[in-house]
């Protein structure tokens, strides 16, 4: 649905994006992750047709961004980093205006506005001037604006920046609800957001691609084993041997009150492990995945230069 090939953008001598190639599948939510000034906004601006690339190709919804700019713009909804609002307009008249410039046919305009208002929960402020609504509502309005023409692809540049925790949760829920119906690409440097919302990520640093793929794929490529942490009601040396006997287990380690169990990717030893516990009258207090957490993954990719 979104595809780039060797995409490069230079501002004079400064290279903002260099040979960036990635692919986002239809109906998925994909994160564009990277530190500040990594080239996230530039990449999004190229995809939306706001900026032309210096070299390379990009296509959105099957249209070439450079050759078929108008078709691309028609199939994209875009929320820039600075939410583009006209303070002197009301919420309703603003959405009506956006519907018109996004070429929503006249008779369907009202319906499109109502739909966007409903999805983003703006009905309580519809008739208010934009300058008088809160930051959270402004952000929602920015998303409503991106949705208005029911685009196939939605591109959101830092959609939760500057919001309070409750608003962040709401906006994330909203974005998650787009899954399946729209293909979403959102940029962020908040790792928890990626983990919660996204199916996969493109990680860039200094304009270069560091890694891309689904979160599971990335975790697999950076650690050899799958595994779990287990906390039981008792830990003694006998327990260690108990798990070691399980077929397929590669590593058993006791770390404080927790036991770390690992096995190669592709197998699933969770059920046999639980069975062993039950058979031996061990009470499971806690059990969680050992797969590399996203912070760890991100730091290794961005700082370690582990290019794929």
């Amino acid at each position: 649905m979104i595809e780039t090939e060797q995409l490069t953008k230079k501002y004079g001598d400064l290279v903002a994006v260099k040979d960036l190639s990635f692919k986002v599948e239809e109906g998925k939510i994909w994160g564009l992750l990277g530190p500040n000034a990594a080239g996230k906004t530039t990449t999004m601006r190229i995809l939306t047709g706001y900026l032309p690339a210096t070299a390379g190709r990009a296509s959105v919804a099957g249209y070439d961004v450079f050759e078929q700019a108008e078709a691309v713009k028609q199939s994209i909804g875009y929320l820039p980093e600075n939410v583009p609002l006209y303070p002197e307009m009301t919420v309703d008249s603003y959405l009506g205006f956006v519907a018109e410039i996004k070429k929503v046919p006249g008779p369907k305009k009202k319906e499109a506005v109502n739909r966007a208002v409903e999805i983003t929960g703006l009905s309580s402020v519809r008739r208010r001037l934009i300058k008088n609504i809160s930051r959270g509502f402004k952000q929602r309005l920015g998303i409503a604006q991106a949705l208005i023409h029911n685009p196939k692809v939605i591109i959101l540049d830092e959609p939760t920046i500057g919001l309070d925790p409750a608003q962040i949760v709401e906006i994330r829920q909203l974005i998650k609800s787009f899954k399946g119906e729209h293909t979403v690409m959102l940029s962020t440097h908040i790792l928890a957001e990626v983990k919660e919302v996204c199916d996969g990520v493109v990680i860039i640093n200094e304009g270069k691609l560091m890694a891309s793929g689904s979160l599971d794929e990335l975790a697999q490529s950076f650690s050899q084993n799958d595994g779990i942490f287990l906390r039981l009601d008792r830990t003694d040396s006998g327990i260690r041997d108990l798990f070691k006997q399980l077929p397929g287990i590669k590593k058993v380690e006791v770390e404080g009150s927790e036991i770390r169990l690992e096995w190669p990717w592709g197998q699933n030893l969770r059920t046999p492990i639980i069975k062993t516990c039950l058979d031996n009258n061990l009470e499971i207090k806690e059990m969680r995945s050992v797969a590399m957490n996203i912070e760890e993954l991100y730091l290794r990719i961005v700082s370690g230069g582990m290019e794929q």
Binding site: Y11, G12, R45, T48, G49, Y50, L51, P52, E70, A71, K73, Q74, I76, Y78, P80, E81, N82, V83, P84, L85, Y86, P87, E88, M89, S93, F97, V98, E100, I101, K102, K103, G106, Q145
Partner: protein, 255 residues
């Protein structure tokens, strides 16, 4: 075409929800009324004195004595006030970040520019129509020649359209509205004083300079002469301003 009109409506809404349009229209109408009142009072006084001498009777002409100087005065007022109308057109979009919304929408840059320009022309039209209300009364109480009168207003409109074309261009170059207004105002003044330079220039230069000056062309129209070269001068001036605006917006993105 529909998208163009959407842009125009949006711009008109911004003009009339902020005080800008009201203030500009009110001040322009006030000044116009004042000039008209002074000129018509003076005309009355002179007319009464002159009418006692039949020899001068033919020379009492309201078009030349009232409307020609009125239009000249108004042309200067337009020069001072129209930069305020054009200054926000693109500067504000850039400052607010809304330019990104417009340029990522499936409408062309030409439509955006024309939509905005059209809105500024409508404000100009409102200024001229409202200021013309008192002057139209002279047709009830006197008998001015209609042609120079209407050509005078057409001239003011064309002159204003050229001013706005240049203003849109400067507005596209900066995100600061004051800078945009000052640059527009400065350039307009320069084009005005070109006619002064024309007086002292020689040969071809004199022709070129006086052709370029706004007001040489305007004088013809207030005298009731519609020359295609004057018309094409204003229209090409406005077109050139809009063309440069288009180039500036495209160039900034391709840089």
């Amino acid at each position: 075409m529909k998208a163009l009109w959407s842009i125009t409506k949006k711009e008109l809404l911004s003009y009339f929800t902020s005080p800008i349009a009201y203030v500009v229209i009110a001040v322009f109408t006030l000044l116009s009324g004042f000039f008209f009142y002074s000129l018509i009072s003076w005309f009355n006084m002179v007319a009464i004195q002159i009418l006692q001498n039949p020899y001068y009777y033919q020379q009492v002409n309201i078009n030349q004595m009232v409307f020609a100087p009125l239009f000249n005065n108004l042309s200067i007022v337009l020069l001072l006030m129209l930069p305020v109308i054009s200054m926000r057109l693109f500067s504000e979009e850039k400052k607010m970040g809304t330019e990104e919304l417009l340029l990522t929408s499936p409408i062309s840059v030409t439509q955006i520019i024309l939509g905005k320009y059209l809105a500024s022309l409508i404000v100009l039209l409102a200024m001229l129509v409202l200021s013309a209300i008192p002057t139209i009364l002279t047709f009830i109480y006197g008998n001015p020649e209609p042609l120079p009168y209407f050509l005078g207003y057409l001239g003011l409109f064309l002159l204003g359209a050229a001013f706005l074309g240049l203003g849109v261009f400067w507005s596209a170059l900066t995100e600061n509205q004051i800078v945009s207004a000052v640059l527009t105002f400065g350039t307009l003044l320069l084009f005005w004083v070109l006619s002064w330079a024309a007086y002292s220039a020689q040969g071809l230069w004199q022709d070129v300079l006086s052709y370029l000056s706004f007001f040489e062309h305007f004088d013809n129209m207030t005298r009731g002469v519609l020359d295609t070269s004057d018309l094409s001068y204003y229209l090409s001036f406005a077109f050139f301003g809009l063309f440069l605006t288009h180039s500036v917006i495209q160039f900034r993105r391709w840089r």
